[in-house]
């Protein structure tokens, strides 16, 4: 579920342009100098149920294309 929520956040942010501080932006290479595309990368973390006293965490990522942000 965390993965779906994280991807959902990336897609919503790509459409709305309303980004959080923790989001990363990765420029996508394009031969066209007038086309500037970035990948917004959202990260989600959650803890797995404790088994035998071990606390384990998972980290998932979501991506979405954004245009003309530079």
């Amino acid at each position: 579920m965390e993965k779906v929520a994280t991807q959902d956040r990336a897609s919503k942010q790509a459409l709305s342009g309303d980004f959080g501080e923790s989001e990363l932006f990765l420029p996508i290479y394009s031969p066209d100098p007038n086309q500037n595309l970035d990948l917004v990368v959202t990260t989600g973390k959650s803890e797995l149920p404790t088994i035998f006293g071990q606390n384990r965490k998972v980290e998932v990522r979501g991506i979405a294309i954004i245009e003309n942000q530079r």
Partner: protein, 130 residues
């Protein structure tokens, strides 16, 4: 006092559980693990396909479009956990018209990982004003 082990029923349920349940549960766990991995791969590939086809149709011409789609698969694949996305993921792009970046052209990007038999597609249309 004599104990007749052959007729004593104590502990028989445990023995039956070990003999019957373990051979049933181990394949079930293996199957669930494999199913989980394939679903995870499909989910990640679906995201990659959707975003790469979006980047494709937003390009000005075919040359740029193919390059940008390839970049998204490569960069995005690494972010989503495919270590060798360039060699691991096969990309197939088909268009309803030539050149691909033409008004109302339908673009289908199919990504697959042959080794794991995972294959997904995403469809997008080029804007009518392209």
């Amino acid at each position: 006092m004599k104990i007749n082990l052959w007729h004593d029923q104590r502990g028989s349920a445990s023995v039956e559980f070990v003999l019957l349940a373990i051979p049933l549960f181990i394949p079930l766990f293996l199957y669930m693990n494999a199913f989980s991995e394939v679903s995870d791969d499909q989910e990640r590939l679906r995201t990659l396909a959707r975003e790469s086809v979006r980047a494709f149709v937003n390009s000005a011409n075919d040359e740029t479009a193919f390059e940008v789609a390839r970049s998204v698969v490569s960069e995005g694949g690494q972010i989503l956990g495919f270590e060798n996305s360039d060699s691991e993921i096969q990309t197939d792009i088909s268009c309803s018209t030539r050149p691909c970046i033409s008004p109302d052209s339908r673009v289908v990007i199919t990504l697959s990982i042959p080794a794991r038999k995972v294959r997904v597609s995403a469809i997008e249309y080029v804007t009518p004003w392209a």
